[in-house]
Point group: C2
Chain length 320, copies 2
């Protein structure tokens, strides 16, 4: 069996493109651009919780990089460097090689240098930490949503949740849509270009990882506001087409996680600007509601009645 350091050398030693020193010393070295602030985020993925233990290692590597890169998108930061620490039950070289390729492919797709890591034996666990750059005072936080702001979400949130429900035999998906839903679950595409374009436009932003309503509640709490969603504006079309069930589609949209779309508030006078950004990026941006000054989260039904919504986010320690 190859030793730990051999494994690292073979699969974790990729060349870096914009770093002073990559993997192989006590630390990596990089030169931030003058005056830029650093944005930093870390995410830990655990077998049996965030992915199936028998998950395709290439896709798992991709997703581990993607969920971290998405945190940079959510701040309006440019992702630049990433580290990956890994616990493995056994030194399975084919598995490590495929996982490393997936991680690396995603990093390359987003111009991120993979600069360091750690490898040890233990229950399967992947922990990546990402660093990006953002101009001072340009980061889009969760705290700026204001009464009257529009509420927007990118793409088609809920497709990943439908893909997961299909894998778990909880739902049958129409064959034409199955692959698209599974692709969203397995190979999320962080909205980095959108996050950068929304600097100075969005008043508050985050990426939807735990479910739209649950993540929205973080914006509402941080901004000390409420929100109302408009049922008639919810982008349900592909979800309905995929599963043919209104209730399942709505639930997937409102509480499904793992899409890594951006959810953001923007002043009403930015509406044209936001729509132009969507056209420019060829990415659908859906206006789904608005920010209220009173706390709480509501759904305005098609018949005009407003009902209170549970946050319903996915909480890893909540009693089920």
């Amino acid at each position: 069996m190859a030793g730990e350091f051999e494994l690292i050398k073979r699969h974790f030693h990729y060349p870096v493109s914009h770093s002073v020193l990559g993997v192989g010393d006590d630390a990596a070295l990089m030169q931030p651009r003058p005056g830029m602030q650093l944005a930093v985020s870390t995410d830990m993925l655990v077998a049996g919780r965030h992915f199936f233990a028998d998950a395709d290692p290439f896709l798992l590597g991709w997703k581990t990089a993607a969920v971290n890169i998405s945190d940079m998108a959510a701040m309006g930061a440019e992702p630049r460097w990433i580290t990956l620490a890994l616990a493995l039950p056994e030194a399975d070289e084919a598995w490590v090689g495929a996982m490393a390729r997936g991680f690396r492919d995603c990093c390359e797709a987003y111009c991120v240098d993979w600069v360091g890591g750690d490898t040890t034996r233990g229950p399967l666990n992947l922990c990546a930490t990402i660093f990006g750059e953002v101009s001072p005072d340009k980061a889009v936080r969760r705290t700026g949503a204001d009464h009257g702001d529009d509420l927007w979400v990118s793409g088609w949130p809920g497709m990943a949740a439908l893909g997961l429900a299909h894998l778990q035999d909880r739902l049958e998906l129409v064959s034409d849509w199955r692959e698209a839903c599974l692709e969203r679950l397995h190979r999320p595409l962080p909205r980095v270009a959108l996050g950068l374009a929304l600097r100075g436009v969005a008043s508050a932003m985050l990426d939807v990882s735990d479910g739209l309503c649950g993540d929205l509640s973080h914006i509402l709490e941080a901004s000390e506001v409420g929100a109302i969603l408009d049922e008639t504006l919810l982008p349900l079309e592909p979800l309905l087409a995929a599963c043919k069930r209104t209730e399942a589609a709505t639930k997937a949209l409102l509480s499904g996680g793992d899409d890594y779309e951006l959810l953001f508030a923007a002043p009403r006078e930015q509406r044209g600007h936001v729509e132009a950004i969507g056209r420019h990026l060829e990415l659908p941006l859906h206006r789904i509601g608005r920010i209220l000054d009173k706390p709480g989260l509501w759904l305005q039904r098609g018949d005009g009645v407003a009902e209170a919504l549970q946050a319903g986010g996915f909480d890893h320690f909540q009693t089920d």
Copy 2:
């Protein structure tokens, strides 16, 4: 049971002293000092491998921060910011609180801002990522050791290994020394001030985490040199006093890990300078051998005979 986000809020929300934004958004924000390079390193600690599952959570928190801070010391970088991702089998608030206090105490002792993290359910795993600053071209890498350089180690490496042997009933320690050995195992003190003082003095450096010979072999490989240790110069006194057995003491010194002392090469003409640094820091610095131009690692015995040494580092995936 408290939800994940409640737990994070209660125990992971410490104020930051030199960061723009700490825990609570998609990413933390910090402003690097003009012109400085960033040094970044990540370490993952797994229950049953790096610590006992029933380890004191305060000490575990301390050690998790310390081993990361030590990587900055080993580069001659100033540790500045750290993140902690955590997988827990259950949401045990007392455990999390004590662990967080230990992590925080170590960070505070070394002026490191704890800026972010992640918490999830899973087999116990702690992954910290540290970022430091270092002036361009001042980082001390592993690659610069040259023929004729002195080889130095700080402190009394091997004490942590004796402490571990004692806990595992493999060795009886003299009572006067027991606490000192366990303290080195449980609460390592990264040599940050030494690392900073050795910029421009040491030609190559790392921190001893996996064992002196094993870690030395990384310097030798990176620098494409060899080394010979002088048995008569090995700092065995406290180890012999603690365990009264020459063989166990020597083994602890040469292949025991977990002390987080600095091992470094320095040109012979820097000998007086290195000694002055040790006096100034009130930290014993031991000259234990010298760098050779031919590959290999040797021990010059007291009788003058040189014998080849195995690297003998601790390799997490080596077949036992």
